[in-house]
Subunit: 352 residues, 4 copies
Amino acid sequence: MTQDTRQNFASDNYAGACPEAMHWLAQANASGHEPAYGEDRWTQRSTDMLRRLFDIDCDVYFVFNGTAANSLALASLCQSYHSVICSPVAHIETDECGGPEFFSNGSKLLVGESTSDAARLGKLTPDAIGSLVTKRHDIHYPRPKVVSITQATEMGTVYSVEEVRAIAWTAQKHHLKLHMDGARFANAVAHLGCSPADITWKAGVDVLCFGGTKNGLPIGEAVVFFDRKMSEDFAWRVKQAGQLASKMRFISAPWVGLLENDVWLRNAAHANAMAQRLYQGMCALPGVQPTHAPQANGVFAQLPPAAVQALHTRGWKFYQFIAGGGCRFMCAWDTQPESVDALLADMRDVLA
Amino acid sequence: MTQDTRQNFASDNYAGACPEAMHWLAQANASGHEPAYGEDRWTQRSTDMLRRLFDIDCDVYFVFNGTAANSLALASLCQSYHSVICSPVAHIETDECGGPEFFSNGSKLLVGESTSDAARLGKLTPDAIGSLVTKRHDIHYPRPKVVSITQATEMGTVYSVEEVRAIAWTAQKHHLKLHMDGARFANAVAHLGCSPADITWKAGVDVLCFGGTKNGLPIGEAVVFFDRKMSEDFAWRVKQAGQLASKMRFISAPWVGLLENDVWLRNAAHANAMAQRLYQGMCALPGVQPTHAPQANGVFAQLPPAAVQALHTRGWKFYQFIAGGGCRFMCAWDTQPESVDALLADMRDVLA
Amino acid sequence: MTQDTRQNFASDNYAGACPEAMHWLAQANASGHEPAYGEDRWTQRSTDMLRRLFDIDCDVYFVFNGTAANSLALASLCQSYHSVICSPVAHIETDECGGPEFFSNGSKLLVGESTSDAARLGKLTPDAIGSLVTKRHDIHYPRPKVVSITQATEMGTVYSVEEVRAIAWTAQKHHLKLHMDGARFANAVAHLGCSPADITWKAGVDVLCFGGTKNGLPIGEAVVFFDRKMSEDFAWRVKQAGQLASKMRFISAPWVGLLENDVWLRNAAHANAMAQRLYQGMCALPGVQPTHAPQANGVFAQLPPAAVQALHTRGWKFYQFIAGGGCRFMCAWDTQPESVDALLADMRDVLA
Amino acid sequence: MTQDTRQNFASDNYAGACPEAMHWLAQANASGHEPAYGEDRWTQRSTDMLRRLFDIDCDVYFVFNGTAANSLALASLCQSYHSVICSPVAHIETDECGGPEFFSNGSKLLVGESTSDAARLGKLTPDAIGSLVTKRHDIHYPRPKVVSITQATEMGTVYSVEEVRAIAWTAQKHHLKLHMDGARFANAVAHLGCSPADITWKAGVDVLCFGGTKNGLPIGEAVVFFDRKMSEDFAWRVKQAGQLASKMRFISAPWVGLLENDVWLRNAAHANAMAQRLYQGMCALPGVQPTHAPQANGVFAQLPPAAVQALHTRGWKFYQFIAGGGCRFMCAWDTQPESVDALLADMRDVLA
């Protein structure tokens, strides 16, 4: 393992694939020829596993990445002249390079202004949604059709089951569909300790983009429609949009590795635990001010600019999002406690 | 190896990944953490290898599949109110579910009517192009901006260097760009015995979609711009369109396996040889009428409907495209001579 | 009246606006301020008149031109990964510069191959539709969702009520919607002598684009949804697509002029009669071979190239569509019998 | 004149067409047949008049409305993965129902945060632009390519020549094009007293959408490209997007009426003067707090909610944009001083 690995807290997608995913990828290859485009046995198997996991006969589509998963899911829930309500820090708003607008041919994202507490935690609130929906009804304004929440959020926090239910209730009241960007869905479930069903369809979520890449896959996300009526002709949409793998098994088989023996949950719980370890350590460091307690696998904190600089100089990788020292430290499925401790030690050093 | 493998001539994408690709995929994972989105060492390495292969400082983008590679390349060469000239059997016209029209937001594909000989071989001719370009100049007709040819063609034939040059000359005369759908580019080069540069940029090709999947990769194609001026901001296009892998190394590292030691060429040459073996065998079978001699890895032939039915019953997989017994038999990088011989034996049987 | 007017048979949209349309346009202006975006009295009035005309509580949208009317209607009936079945000479296929593909973000037009007789008359047949729908069901092919027919056709012919019914029956059998491009709908009704309801919703048409411009309006077409469930949120679609006139009354008021006292039908009947007069005259001319008897307002005929040239030299305007002398002569709501006779006289001259 | 007319301050597009526009519309009809699609004499004439007005050989396209003018102009300046910088109150952001995103297939609008003073006046500042452009350079964020300013602004203010120059300078520094939404361009020029060239291309504007509708046309806007290199193939874009009028003269001829004898400027100056008259009167009314002095044809003011309600009850039409009594009063080319005075009298009454 190189120095890079030990010193990365920049993103959980810097991590590689977990052994279980790699095992099944190799297995899928060993079988020789397999029908293409998802007619293979691994796609069937992982789809069935997801159905069991969610305890419902859901419709599952494996796509290549999160931009596509979210954009295609949103496009299937609205038309170009509709709009999608999300938080100001929603990944679909800030980091998809206009992907949702492209796939939907123009649906506008409407940023909900939550109370300062919720906003600080990266969460959308029922009030913020209600306010956007009732603000205007004229045809010069794209009609809201979808609410999108990120679970776990971009700020490393997690919506409780009650919070999701309250959002879903508001959405339903206004005839909006509820989409969950689950790039770190596993981290959220690991934190909540609930069943995947509880925090999704039982709480009112219509479509989940279940992130596999950050959870230990080499490549791939799953779009899960809990109500099959909403996924009519979605296979054609996926094909046209360049998201149908010809050798699909290489996307779907690694999912078997994640889902078997709850590896997905173990990977996520580990990443979450590393974030906790880092957070606890940072709380004890004068000069470091964590923004809030992490619930998933990311720690957000204020550090003095000189300390940030010094840490970068020592080789530590992490992102600065806010002027004046706001930093994000992401832990992955394979982050080692030793790396966390070494980071904390260096922090102590540079702050001394 | 299961029966499936031995009996598949349906598509070259039923094949798995070749050992060399799998080796580098595993290697890429072994390195632990790597920067995401293509900032990793494998992406750099395979890109450099492609530049050496094509003997030019080209701009290379790795995307997930052929639909996306072709659609994004075409979209970058024209606007929605332009059109793309292709053959009636072009994959972009018949099998992308409107992908090119989707990514370009409406560019129309204009099907060129080649002479019957060229049409039979799946080729577009300079005359067909010229005829479409000069037919109309009014604004009610989407202005042609691109010519797209498939190399090797969908009919298992290969454009000679002279043919590509003639097409490029016609394209340039009419201010059209030349796109090459190279889903089976390796098979074409293996047949021609020329250098990749000779049949692409030296012959006037502007953009090549170099197919990796059918050549032995698990997933992935490369979009190669020979003129960097044409690829301005293409990275943003790829990102927005959901084709930027976060863990890019899992797409790019297997390319190292293909490119090192000319595995790509060996894989293709093997598939071509299997097609020749099948074709030669079929020529000796009364009742089987090959449409034309294969130059790449697919054999097209007329068989009596009863024979087709009998072969399917015996477990042989292949596609029928034309009413009355027109069949396609595809060979892959891993097709075994024994499989070819077994198919020929069964053909003889069912025709007896 | 200038020479231009008398000698134009190029297109029925070279004609101006009829007096009745201009009268109401002026009236609408005389009222001073009016609410914008269709909340005015003229929009209400012309909409109600259309409802009475079609004898059903239809949903009506006034848009600026035929490209937009057809494209928006089609886009509302399908998604980008669906397809629209039409004839090879359909205006949406040949003369909208990819408008339908643009507004739908990529829906492909599938050209139906009718029997030679129907093809010659510019008609789509149930068999051609059935053949396209049943040809493929795989996801690599955009799923047919809509049939579009042009009434009157681009070849100056008219579908009978029975023919439309048969097409609608086929469409329904395959779960396709039926769109009617009625750029010359008035000419078709004038020919058939039936009620507008008989040839539209009673025959199975879902959406009609009722052409006003060629019928005597300065600007404007009406999109008529006979089933209001299909027009959900269509007002938003129209707005986003730049087709909502702020001073809507200037589009809608002239419709009052067309609809009052059946001016629309009188205008169309006159144009049709002029076409008949021209056709009858041409039948008597040796050297002129009308392709088929006109049913609407266009005459198609073969003339010797030298004669075509000579007529153009004499100032006559008309289009040549086919190599070797295939010509189209269009009559408008204001074409004068004297113009027809003068054209016939010149034809006789140049053929002598 | 009905009560409606006298009491409308809701929007300047409630007004009808001015006599000069109607005159030329009628003239254009009187000529009988004219070539379609802009090949007519009126289109040529009004285009030439615009070239003289702007003192440059610009490229002019007449389209139906402002949504289309702005959206098509912006789409021609960027690709789907680019972004457009505008103010938070820009019409393209708040009132086009996602039109710019639709026509560009996904270009994101980035809202610039100007200083509170500029923001209050509805203006974008060079600093706000610079801040957005330099904020991020990564491919997860749509690359800024265009700055769009509205002249006059949505808050009834006008950018000075120096302000436009400063914005253009910033735009050029960052390789951005400058688009001017001139729905009320005439009002701005009337206020500034400069030449149209001074405030557009000489100040660095690349494309102007010159609003005709609010200035006294029945229908229509002009897209003016000052640099012809930027308008390559724009005619095809217009056609595909459903913005090419077949009987174009009915759009272009009324422009002759506006441009001849500077009617456009007189109309605008009158509307501006009515706004001044209203503003002066309101300043003398205790209880009414104008937000800022108007420079164009709209007055913005705070009124007590009860007064707003009472005015509405008396039949006065105007929009409330902000909770607590923020109101907008728009004057048109035909607003009468008597109407202004009657409104002021009623204000005094209800505030008493």
